[in-house]
Symmetry: C2
């Protein structure tokens, strides 16, 4: 059977857009929260889209997950208890569970449909969602983190964009709750959007985080399947610890398994081009 | 008068593509070598396309030009004589002429149409094309560099892609001529395509350069208006000089004027993620 070739299109800010040639639409559903779509692309493996926005392609997800996870995890001296906010596709959990120190991972995903569709179609991402160390909560993370204290070593905010179901995950009140749920030497990393976005999401997110955490550092990586092809992450420490590697041996092991992360990239990804540095300085 | 809105589309490898909303088509012509188009985009200033491939948008050209020029120029102890291959839009010449050491810039562009259209529509790029230090040759650079020796301190290869009129600028014989035309401590930087290209252009280019120059280093930067949003450059030294800053005071001045380049980025841009490092290692 030959499927008709077509192009999946994501438009950003009514100014630019990205096309992917797809060979098959594998899934489409309207969950309680969003439209969930899975495509087979011609060249980049499967593509997951939520409300029309590309969440990942199998070809390029390694960059996002390496950088969201290994930078904060290896900057912590001994991350035992980890919270993942969102991350329903499983890629973040997969990377977290590579760290030998980890005892428990709590993952709070609002949309069970994302988890189920990922388990069905994204075996390489969802491979650890049934791991005995992982507790999956299908729940709004805003409720989950509220009024809890001193629980996690590392929190990873693997959210969608600041519209739709993910919107509340960009509020200062949520960041305040994340601060409280961290242990005294806790670290959080959040996906913090593209530095090229005309809506200037990066400084908005960075300012809020900076108003909550004593130490806030932006880092970045290419991400060809996200708008403008470059993405930022923000690292925050509750105790003021800089994002340097604190477990050198494990960093070496992790690096060997990674297609993106290595120990030099750990440092280099915090070096900001002038225009990105200015996005963070507007916060002061 | 209201112009009809439309989208400019560039398809890459029949797998992905980028769209730009345009508000006006300013120019279209078929030169002796290629189709030359200029658009007004809705959000990124003017857009120059050659044979349907985006060469630049005014909003994002600063990254490419900062990185192609300032990395090699500031790695040279005293660049007096510079050759630009291609670069008809003028952006590379503009950046080169910021360096106080420069006495002469020879620029060899094959297509006079690109120069003329850029002078008409891209004032911020073409602003130095009439500079008294600049000699503009409308000529095929392959002929220009052939059988010349020991002339330039720095050569910058600001070419189109390895198809169409730019194809010969990716041949080993051209690189050999560039080697010869450099002075003994000369440096060349070439645009060396995207690390995400399925055609694996990066290792092909890198291998050839490595077979000619004793020291070859890949570096990279985001480039939202090029395919996959990330681009590489290759730095080569005829004498084996590493790409470190050799004029610190001038680097500080240049950095103050740049939106992308700074002294820390100079170093960090040579730190390669694992998958890009592998593209260069295949060369051995």
């Amino acid at each position: 059977m030959i499927y008709e070739m077509d192009w999946f299109k994501e438009i950003t800010e009514n100014a630019t857009g990205v096309l992917y040639r797809i060979t098959k639409k594998l899934h489409e559903s309207q969950s309680q929260y969003q439209k969930v779509e899975m495509f087979e692309t011609a060249a980049f493996g499967k593509l997951l889209a939520l409300d029309g926005a590309v969440m990942l392609t199998e070809a390029h997800e390694f960059i996002y997950h390496d950088m969201l996870v290994h930078i904060p995890m290896l900057s912590h001296p001994e991350p035992k208890r980890v919270l993942i906010v969102g991350g329903g596709d499983g890629g973040t959990a997969r990377e977290v569970l590579k760290h030998r120190t980890v005892e428990t991972v709590d993952m709070v995903e609002i949309d069970v449909e994302v988890v189920e569709v990922s388990k069905r179609y994204l075996a390489d991402l969802a491979c650890k969602l049934d791991d005995p160390k992982l507790n999956l909560y299908i729940q709004d993370a805003i409720e989950f983190v509220h009024d809890k204290e001193d629980i996690y070593d590392v929190v990873l905010v693997d959210s969608t964009d600041p519209i739709g179901p993910g919107e509340g995950l960009f509020n200062r009140s949520f960041y305040r709750d994340v601060f409280n749920i961290l242990k005294p030497d806790g670290i959080v990393a959040v996906q913090s959007e593209s530095p090229f976005l005309l809506g200037r999401e990066v400084p908005q997110i960075f300012t809020k985080l900076q108003s909550v955490f004593p130490l806030t550092r932006l880092y970045w990586a290419p991400m060809p399947c996200y708008p403008y092809g470059t993405w930022t992450f923000t690292y925050c420490s509750k105790s003021g610890m800089e994002p340097i590697i604190r477990r050198t041996d494990e960093a070496e092991e992790i690096e060997d398994e990674c297609k993106y992360y290595n120990r030099k990239i750990h440092q280099a990804s915090f070096v900001l081009p002038n225009f990105i540095r200015k996005l963070t300085e507007g916060a002061n």
